[in-house]
Symmetry: C2
Subunit: 144 residues, 2 copies
Amino acid sequence: MSEKPAEAVIRAWARLTRAQQRAQGEIEAALKAAGLPALAWYDVLLETERAGKGGLRPFELERAMLLAQYNLSRLVERMASAGLVERRPCDDDGRGHRVAVTDAGRVMRRRMWPVYAQAIERAVGNHLTAREAKTLGDLLGRLG
Amino acid sequence: MSEKPAEAVIRAWARLTRAQQRAQGEIEAALKAAGLPALAWYDVLLETERAGKGGLRPFELERAMLLAQYNLSRLVERMASAGLVERRPCDDDGRGHRVAVTDAGRVMRRRMWPVYAQAIERAVGNHLTAREAKTLGDLLGRLG
DNA sequence: TGCATCTTGATGCATATGCATGAATTCGTA
DNA sequence: TACGAATTCATGCATATGCATCAAGATGCA
C-alpha cells in the first residue's frame, strides 16, 4: 500500500478540495450575509444539543469536529462569552469541564438552520440527482 | 430550486467537509514532517510552472486557487522572499505584475511532489478502488 | 480629451490560528 | 500508598487571515 496514486485518485483529491472550498465559501457567505455566526459555531451548537442536558467534554467536541485542542478551547471561550454555551465544572474529572448549550444557543441554532440548509441545497443539492447525492455520500464516507 | 435539501444531500455535505479536512490534515502533516512548505505553496508553484515562461497575473492565481485577493498577495510575498517565485513588472498593464516561478521554485516543487503524492495515496487512494476513485472524481467535478 | 468608474494589488488594524509550554488532575504501577 | 507518566485544558507569543481602505493605472463614455 501507499505507492504512487493513480491519475483518478489525484483528480479525486483535487476536486475534493476544490468542491469543499467552493461549497464552504458559499455557505459561510450565506450565513454572514444573514448576520449569523460562522459554520464552526453551528457545529458546536449542534453537538452540544445532541449531547443532551449534561453537555460534553471539550476533548469530545474536539474529536467530533476535527479541531485542534487550543483552537477548540478558544472557540468555546468566544461562544461562552456570546452566551451561546456555558462551561460547567465536571464532577467526575477535576481537570476538565463540560460544555453545554444555553437557551440562547438553541435559539441561535434554529435561526441558523434555514439559512444553512438553503445554502447546502444551493451549493450541493442543486448539482446532483438524489441518487448521485447518495453515491457521493457513500464514497466520501469511505474516506472518513 | 433551492428548497430544503434532502437527507442524502445533507449527509453528502457533512462528509464532504469531514473527508476533506481529514485528508488535508494528513497531507499537510506529511509535508510538515518532511520539512516542506504547506500545500498552498505547492499549488502556487504548480500554477506558475503551468503558466510557462511569463508567469501569470496575481488575479489569475487568485481565481485558480479560490483564494482571497489580500490572501494571495501575501502568499506571493512570502514565497517571493523565500526565493521560490518572483514578481515582474507587467508590460501591458501598469497596475499589476506577473508572478513567475524561479529555478529554486521548480526544484522545491519536485522535492514536494513525492511526499505529496504518497500522502494523497494514503489519504484517498487507499480507501477506494480505481473505479470508485473515478466515480468520486466525476461527482465532485459536478460541484465544481 | 476629461472625468467618473472599474480593476488590480497592497496594507493597517483587528481577529483567528499554530506552536510550544504550563498548570492541574488523573492514571498506571511498583 | 507514592510517584512518574499521561490526560485535559488554557495561554503567551509568533504568524496568518479577514476586513476595510487606499493608491495607481485602465476603461468607458459624454
